[in-house]
C-alpha cells in the first residue's frame, strides 16, 4: 500500500501504534470488498480532480449516500466540509482528503469519549438484551459474544427469548453447545417475559456472570411486538436492578435508511446502549450506523465480519475509518 507521507498529518496520528495497525489489517481483510466497491470511487474522483469545485462536493455527497450514510447526515457532513474548506482556504484536493478523514472522525466521536466496551462488571449478574428486526443475525451475534466472554473466564447463560420463529430455540441451543454456555429455554410459543423471569432465577441459582437474552426479530412498526419488548425490558429491570445493563440493537450492514428508523423506535421502547453491525464482510458498508451515531448518539459496539465464531470485533472508529479510506490515501 502506497501512502503519501506528506499528507498524513492527522491520519498518521490515528495509526501511530503498532497494535492499531495490526488490527486494522484484520479489518482490512473483512472490509476489502467494501472499500473497493464504494470508496474506490472516491479515489478515482479525488485523483481526477485538481481543484475543489462545487461539482466535487456534490459528487462527494453522492458517494457518501451510496455508502448508506443517512441523507441528512451526509448533507450536514458535506456542508461542514464546504465551510471548512472556505475558512481554512483549502485549495488542494490532497488537503481535502485529510479534511474528510478528520471530519468523519469528529462526526463519530463528537468531542466525547466513545467506548466500545460493554458495561460488564464482576460480582453481579450482567444482563445483555439483544433486539432488532428479523434476520439481522441476533442469534449468531449472541453465540459470538458468549464465546468471547467464556474465554475471559465468565460463566455465560444464553436465554432463548425468541419463542416465535420456528427453529429459533434450537438454533440458540446449538450455539450454546458449540461455545459451552449454559442454556435456558421454555417451549415454543411461551411468553418471552416469563422466559426471562425464569432465566433470571436460573442465573441467580447457578451463579451466572453474564446473561445474553435473545429476542424474536420484530419490525419496529409492529405495535404489539414492540409492547411485548417493553414488557420483557420491564420484567428484567424488576428482577435485577439497573438491568438490562446493555441493550444492543443488531443492524444488518446491508440495511439502508431504514436502519435509522429501527434505531429511533427501538430506542423509544428499550433504551439502546449500543449497535452491533453485522455482515460487514459483504459489499455493503453499513454507513447507516454513522447516521445512528450522529442523530441518536448511540455508539457502535461490535462489527460482524464473517460466519466464524471469532469473526466479531470490538468496534474501533479509527480502524473503521482507516480501513475505509486506506486505499484512497
Amino acid at each position: 500500500m502506497k501512502v503519501d507521507v506528506i499528507h498524513m498529518g492527522f491520519f498518521k496520528n490515528l495509526f501511530s501504534s503498532k497494535e492499531k495497525r495490526k488490527n486494522a489489517q484484520k479489518y482490512n481483510l473483512g472490509m476489502k470488498k467494501t472499500r473497493e466497491s464504494v470508496f474506490g470511487n472516491l479515489k478515482v474522483l479525488l485523483d481526477s480532480s485538481e481543484l475543489i469545485s462545487e461539482d466535487l462536493f456534490s459528487e462527494l455527497e453522492e458517494i457518501f449516500i451510496m455508502a448508506d450514510i443517512g441523507v441528512d447526515t451526509v448533507l450536514k457532513f458535506v456542508q461542514t466540509l464546504r465551510h471548512k474548506v472556505e475558512i481554512n482556504r483549502i485549495q488542494s484536493v490532497e488537503d481535502l482528503k485529510e479534511l474528510i478523514i478528520e471530519e468523519m472522525y469528529k462526526l463519530y466521536v463528537n468531542d466525547k469519549i466513545v467506548s466500545s466496551n460493554l458495561n460488564i462488571v464482576n460480582d453481579r449478574i450482567n444482563i445483555i438484551l439483544f433486539v432488532g428486526v428479523n434476520g439481522v443475525g441476533k442469534t449468531t451475534t449472541i453465540g459470538k459474544i458468549a464465546n468471547e466472554y467464556i474465554h475471559k473466564g465468565k460463566k455465560v447463560l444464553m436465554v432463548a427469548g425468541d419463542t416465535f420463529r420456528a427453529g429459533a430455540i434450537n438454533q440458540l441451543r446449538i450455539w450454546s453447545e458449540r461455545v459451552g454456555a449454559d442454556f435456558f429455554a421454555k417451549e415454543e410459543g411461551s411468553d418471552p417475559s416469563s422466559v426471562m423471569y425464569d432465566a433470571i432465577s436460573y442465573a441467580k441459582e447457578n451463579k451466572i456472570d453474564l446473561v445474553l437474552c435473545d429476542t424474536a426479530g420484530r419490525l419496529q412498526n409492529k405495535v404489539n411486538l414492540m409492547k411485548e419488548l417493553e414488557k420483557i425490558n420491564k420484567i428484567i429491570g424488576r428482577e435485577i436492578e439497573f438491568a438490562p445493563h446493555e441493550t444492543l440493537l443488531v443492524v444488518d450492514a446491508t440495511t439502508g435508511q431504514n436502519g435509522l428508523s429501527q434505531a429511533k423506535i427501538f430506542n423509544e421502547v428499550t433504551r439502546i446502549t449500543g449497535v452491533v453491525l453485522t455482515k460487514l464482510d459483504g459489499t455493503a458498508k453499513g454507513g447507516i450506523v454513522l447516521a445512528i451515531k450522529d442523530e441518536l448518539d448511540i455508539p457502535i459496539k461490535y462489527i460482524g465480519l464473517g460466519e466464524k465464531l471469532e469473526d466479531l470485533e470490538h468496534f474501533d472508529i479509527e480502524e473503521y475509518i482507516y480501513s475505509m479510506f486506506s486505499d484512497i490515501f
Binding site: 449516500i65 428479523n134 434476520g135 435508511q257 431504514n258 428508523s261 455482515k279 455493503a284
Partner: protein, 467 residues
C-alpha cells in the same frame, strides 16, 4: 406500508406544482431536487435516481408540457409513468412446468427470509395452481434451519424432504427430485442456505444445485430494507445463476423499499412476489404498476379488489362501503367489517390500500389484537343495541353491563363507542369530499379525464371506489 414516506414527499414536492397554472424552469429544478432526495431517502439506487430525475426533467421541460393547460398534472403523470417503467410494466407470472415437476430454487443473503418465503410460495401455488408441493431443505449450515422449514411445512401440511446436514446440497437436491417424481409431487420449492454474493465457493454450490434441479424459476429473496447495496447483491446472484425473478420480503415494515424500484432497472430481474408479514398467508403477487400508483399515494384499489374477490362476496363489500359513506353505521356493520378484515389480513394494511385513507389514518395505531376484544364487546350487546348505537352511548348502565359481559373494562367499551363514532364521521367526510380537496390529498385523482361529479342517491360513491 412501504413507500408511505416516499409518497408523502413526492406529494409535498408536487403539490406546489399541481396548484400552479404554468411551470417555470425553476419550478422543475426545485421539484426534481425534492424527488431526488426523496428517492435517495427511500434507498433507491443512486444511479436509478439520476436516470429517473433526468428523464422526468427532460419530459417536463418539453414545450408541450409548458404550454399545456394544466402542467402540474402532466408532470405528475410523467413521474407516475416513469416509476411504472422502472419497476416493469406488468406483473410477471411464474413459469411452471405443466407436464412434469416444477422446480423452484430460493436464493439470497443471510436473513433475507428465504425459509419463510419458501413456505409461503408453496402455499400460494397450492392455492392458486392446485399444485402438490414438496419443500426441500438444502440449508445445511445455519443451525436449526432444517427444523425451521419442517415446522413451517407442518403448519401448512406440506411435506419437507431433508437428509440432515452431512450430505451435499446438490446430492440432496437430486434425491429430492427423484422422490418428488415417484411420490406424485409436481412442485419442488428448494430452500438454500443464505450466503454472501461474493463468496465464490458458496455460489459454486448453488450452481451445482441448479445443474441438478434445472429449475424453472430461481428466485432471489431480497429484504425490502436493503440499502444501496441491493443492486450489487442482485447483480452478483444474477451473474452466477441467471436469476429469473425476485421476491421482496418484509414489506410490511415501515421501509420505503426503494430497492424494489432499482432492482428492475439495473438488473432487469422482475419482482414477482412480496412478503407482507410473518404469517404464512401474508404473501402477494407483486404488481409493478400498482406499486407505482402506491408510491404516488393513489392508494391501491386494485390490490384491495384482489383481496376482496379472493375472500369476500363483492356485493357484501359494496353494501358496506355505501353504508359507511352514508354515515348510517351500526355495530352489526362494525362486526361484519371486522370479520371481513380478519379474512383479508391486517387492518392497518387494508386501510392503507384505500386512497385517501393513508393520510386520514396517519398517527392512528391500528392494533390487530384489539380486534378480538372488540368482537367480544359487540357480542355482549343486545340486538337492539347493536342496531342503534345511541342506546349505548347514552346509558352508562348498559355500558357497564356490556363491559362485564365481555370481560373488558368500561373504558374499552367507551373507546369502541368512540371509534364507531369516529369512523362514522370519517366515512361521512370521505363520502362528501369535494373534488378540490381530493386533488390536494391525491394528485393522481386529477388525472382522470372526467371531473368527479357528486351524484345523488344510492351508489353515489361508486365512481371513486371501483368495487
Amino acid at each position: 406500508m412501504a413507500f408511505d414516506n416516499l409518497s408523502d414527499r413526492l406529494q409535498m414536492s408536487l403539490r406546489r406544482v399541481t396548484g400552479k397554472g404554468r411551470l417555470t424552469e425553476n419550478d422543475i429544478e426545485e421539484m426534481m431536487r425534492e424527488v431526488r432526495l426523496s428517492l435517495l431517502e427511500a434507498d433507491v439506487n443512486f444511479k436509478v435516481v439520476k436516470e429517473f430525475t433526468k428523464e422526468v426533467k427532460e419530459q417536463a421541460m418539453g414545450e408541450k408540457i409548458l404550454k399545456g393547460l394544466n402542467p402540474g398534472q402532466q408532470v405528475v403523470k410523467i413521474v407516475h409513468e416513469e416509476l411504472k417503467k422502472i419497476m416493469g410494466d406488468k406483473a410477471e407470472p411464474l413459469t411452471l412446468n405443466v407436464m412434469g415437476v416444477t422446480t423452484i430454487m430460493m436464493v439470497g443473503l443471510q436473513g433475507a427470509g428465504k425459509t419463510t418465503t419458501a413456505g409461503k410460495l408453496a402455499l400460494h401455488l397450492r392455492k392458486t395452481n392446485n399444485l402438490k408441493p414438496l419443500l426441500v431443505a438444502l440449508d445445511i449450515y445455519r443451525p436449526a434451519a432444517i427444523e425451521q422449514l419442517k415446522t413451517i411445512g407442518a403448519q401448512l401440511d406440506i411435506p419437507v424432504f431433508e437428509l440432515g446436514i452431512l450430505e451435499k446440497p446438490a446430492s440432496i437436491a437430486k434425491k429430492a427430485l427423484d422422490y418428488a417424481k415417484t411420490n406424485g409431487f409436481n412442485l419442488i420449492v428448494a430452500d438454500t442456505a443464505g450466503r454472501l454474493h461474493i463468496d465464490e465457493l458458496m455460489m459454486k454450490e448453488l450452481v451445482d444445485v441448479k445443474e441438478v434441479l434445472k429449475p424453472q424459476e430461481i428466485l432471489l429473496t431480497l429484504d425490502a430494507m436493503t440499502g444501496q447495496d441491493a443492486v450489487n447483491v442482485a447483480s452478483s446472484f444474477h451473474q452466477s445463476l441467471s436469476v429469473t425473478g425476485s421476491i421482496m420480503t418484509k414489506l410490511d415494515g415501515d421501509t420505503r423499499g426503494g430497492a424494489a424500484l432499482s432492482l428492475r432497472t439495473v438488473t432487469n430481474i422482475p419482482i414477482k412476489f412480496m412478503g407482507m408479514g410473518e404469517k404464512l398467508d401474508q404473501f402477494e403477487v407483486f404488481h409493478p404498476e400498482r406499486m407505482a400508483s402506491r408510491i404516488l399515494g393513489m392508494g391501491d384499489v386494485l390490490t384491495l379488489v384482489d383481496k376482496v374477490t379472493q375472500n369476500i362476496d363483492e356485493d357484501d363489500m359494496m353494501g358496506m362501503m355505501e353504508k359507511m359513506m352514508s354515515g348510517k353505521f351500526n355495530y352489526n356493520d362494525f362486526l361484519k367489517q371486522l370479520k371481513m378484515i380478519k379474512k383479508m389480513g391486517s387492518l392497518g394494511g387494508m386501510m392503507k390500500l384505500i386512497p385517501g385513507m393513508n393520510k386520514a389514518m396517519q398517527g392512528a395505531n391500528v392494533d390487530d389484537k384489539q380486534l378480538v376484544f372488540v368482537e367480544a364487546i359487540i357480542s355482549s350487546m343486545t340486538k337492539s343495541e347493536r342496531k342503534n348505537p345511541k342506546l349505548i352511548s347514552q346509558s352508562s348502565s348498559r355500558r357497564k353491563r356490556i363491559a362485564k359481559g365481555s370481560g373488558r373494562s368500561v373504558s374499552e367499551v367507551n373507546r369502541l363507542i368512540q371509534s364507531l363514532e369516529q369512523q362514522t364521521v370519517m366515512m361521512k367526510r370521505m363520502g362528501s369530499m369535494d373534488p378540490n380537496k381530493i386533488n390536494s390529498a391525491n394528485p393522481m385523482s386529477a388525472l382522470g379525464n372526467q371531473p368527479i361529479k357528486q351524484k345523488k342517491g344510492k351508489g353515489k360513491n361508486k365512481s371513486r371506489f371501483k368495487f
